[in-house]
């Protein structure tokens, strides 16, 4: 292996090289930095990365730890003390985190080095990373397409071999969908499994931090580091954390996997449909029993999601008032003017839209019709899952109804953008865990190969089982081994 090839390694592979002393953490960072310099101008995944600080950390790291010396890229809404944390929003430009999130402390406790601040949709609101106020992130498989979102910078970086692994957040699919569109593995933990302390809140009853990686094994390894109870997050679950790698390598005999009939709907891209059907067949050949199941409230998930998520967002984003941190309007004429102009100048269009929608569904006269009703339908959606999980250990579906779409294709029609989350929203509403793994490719009209993701959903706190199934599937295919050839768009 040459230093040039080093960034292409998985975390497990890199860990073995580091432990054998064949490469050092500093050499690893150096090689990564060189590749970022060469490739990221085309991709736009990193908002910033502080090489000198990471090098100082690399020199002190203990490579015998589970993630010793491994750089991990961080979505720009998770606080790392001393680094920027802007949520890709103008309102937080220049903000420096005065403390670190629990997940960062935990990663460091396992020897990892937080390295780089990854682009995202502003405040994680979006499915394409086009809502970043800073820059465009391009899909490494086709630079004219989106990487998915909102964790698009994290996903594109891992896909382009400019990050070994990354942390993202998933409120309605923001880890799984970009992982699918970028051809990597994305994992959303059960609600409460990972501490949200130090994560800038978007929708507090839905947000979870999780890993984006090249393989399922890497994903399980990162979950081993970040999962667990935290007294700083009152919604974190006080349940034991198993070793998520313990089931890897087990076969699928006796495992029942449900195929929700509501998920094979019209509007799913034919290439996605055939890839998922082939993957389900493959799961059967690996020993799993495939059972058709029904989630009758599926059709309501997007409506429920966009009412509840915007309601929570409108409350969470009330803190951006231009007093304690962030942008503040100049020369204001009154207190109202101070607030209204500070927020108008600081927030982008999608954030404003969601604040308006969220404020409306919570406002007097509409609360019962929208917010309260949505909460009740949320309960029915949750019950659908509880009932079907008595019959099966996991559910399988496409992650996204289509492969990566073109930059600009959906930006003028928010509803079309929201519909991109159709298969992922419900897991957040129900608080269950889910993963996206590569399961094939579609050929685009412009001759590009575009990745397709398979979603596996599991019961709350049953992540070890989902890793087992996803790993068995992944290891029986070659999809995860394919890497994009990054070709600049002809001028």
């Amino acid at each position: 292996m040459t230093k040039r090839d080093l960034p292409a390694l998985s975390i497990i592979e890199l860990r073995d090289f580091l432990r054998r002393g064949e490469i050092s953490p500093s050499e690893t960072l150096q090689a990564l930095e060189e590749r970022i310099d060469a490739v990221d101008p085309e991709i736009g995944a990193y908002l910033v990365h502080d090489f000198a600080t990471a090098m100082a950390e690399a020199e002190k790291t203990d490579v015998s730890l589970p993630l010793g010396g491994i750089p991990i890229a961080i979505k720009d809404l998770i606080n790392v003390e001393g680094q920027q944390c802007t949520c890709a929003s103008k309102i937080l430009r220049g903000y420096r985190a005065p403390y670190s999130a629990t997940v960062i402390e935990k990663l460091r406790g396992h020897g990892a080095i937080p390295f780089g601040r990854m682009n995202m949709d502003e405040f994680a609101m979006g499915s394409s990373t086009e809502n970043s106020s800073v820059q465009v992130t391009r899909n490494p498989w086709d630079l004219s397409r989106v990487p998915g979102g909102s964790s698009g910078g994290s996903a594109a970086a891992v896909a382009a071999d400019i990050a070994f692994g990354a942390l993202g957040t998933d409120t309605g699919g923001s880890i799984r969908q970009p992982a699918a569109l970028s051809g990597i593995v994305g994992f959303k933990p059960s609600y409460g499994r990972v501490s949200r302390f130090g994560l800038v809140a978007f929708a507090s009853s839905l947000d979870q931090i999780g890993p984006l990686t090249k393989t399922v094994h890497d994903s399980a390894l990162l979950m081993n580091a970040i999962a667990g109870h935290d007294s700083h997050d009152s919604t974190s679950l006080n349940a034991p954390v198993p070793d998520y790698t313990k089931n890897l390598g087990r076969d699928l005999k006796g495992i029942r996997i449900g195929l929700p009939k509501e998920y094979m709907i019209e509007g799913v891209d034919p290439a996605v449909k055939s890839a998922v059907i082939a993957a389900v067949k493959q799961l059967g050949e690996l020993g799993a029993e495939i059972i058709e199941v029904s989630l009758p409230h599926t059709d309501y998930a997007i409506s429920v999601y966009y009412i509840l998520a915007t309601a929570e967002a409108s409350a969470n984003l009330a803190r951006f008032d231009g007093v304690r941190y962030g942008h503040r309007a100049e020369n204001v004429s009154s207190l109202f003017d101070h607030y209204a102009r500070t927020r108008a100048e600081g927030f982008g269009a999608e954030v404003k839209r969601r604040i308006i929608l969220g404020t409306y569904v919570l406002s007097s006269g509409y609360y019962d019709a929208y917010y309260l009703r949505a909460q009740k339908v949320r309960e029915l959606i949750r019950q659908d899952f509880v009932r079907e999980f008595e019959k099966v250990e996991a559910l399988v579906s496409p992650t996204s109804p289509s492969p990566a779409f073109k930059l600009g294709e959906k930006t003028t029609d928010p509803l079309q953008m929201y519909l991109a989350d159709i298969f992922t929203n419900a897991a957040n509403l129900a608080g269950i865990c889910g993963i996206s793994v590569p399961c094939g490719f579609a050929q685009s009209k412009n001759g590009k190969t575009l990745p397709i993701g398979l979603q596996l959903l599991g019961k709350a706190l049953d992540e070890a089982r989902i890793f087992q199934i996803a790993h068995a599937y992944e290891q029986s295919t070659d999809w995860h081994k394919a890497r994009p050839v990054i070709e600049p768009i002809a001028a």
Binding site: S234, R324, G326, E379, R382
Partner: protein, 94 residues
């Protein structure tokens, strides 16, 4: 229900100054979203308890022990305006 959304009024409630163009655009776009959400009316929710969280957790207490937290300097480290270890706010009382 969708036609009742008055974006200009809600923007006041949310302390957001919108331009005339933004107001018009959001009125149309959010009208479409609310129209799509109309389908929630079909669902029979009688007797269903509203779920604020997917995982019901109630009354989480922590030990009532003092611990270190931000110093004033740390809390003020991102303040757009400050003086004498305090945040400067816009005049509230006329």
């Amino acid at each position: 229900m969708a036609s009742e959304l008055d974006v200009a009024y809600v923007a006041q409630l949310a302390r957001l100054r919108l331009t005339a163009d933004e107001t018009k655009l959001f009125q149309k776009q959010l009208g479409d979203v609310l129209k799509y959400a109309e389908k929630l009316k079909e669902v029979n929710v009688e007797g269903v308890e509203a779920a604020a969280h997917a995982v019901p957790i109630f009354n989480v207490f922590r030990a009532d022990d003092p611990c270190d937290w931000f110093t004033a300097a740390e809390a003020l480290s991102n303040a757009p305006r400050q003086a004498n270890n305090l945040f400067i706010v816009t005049k509230v009382v006329e």
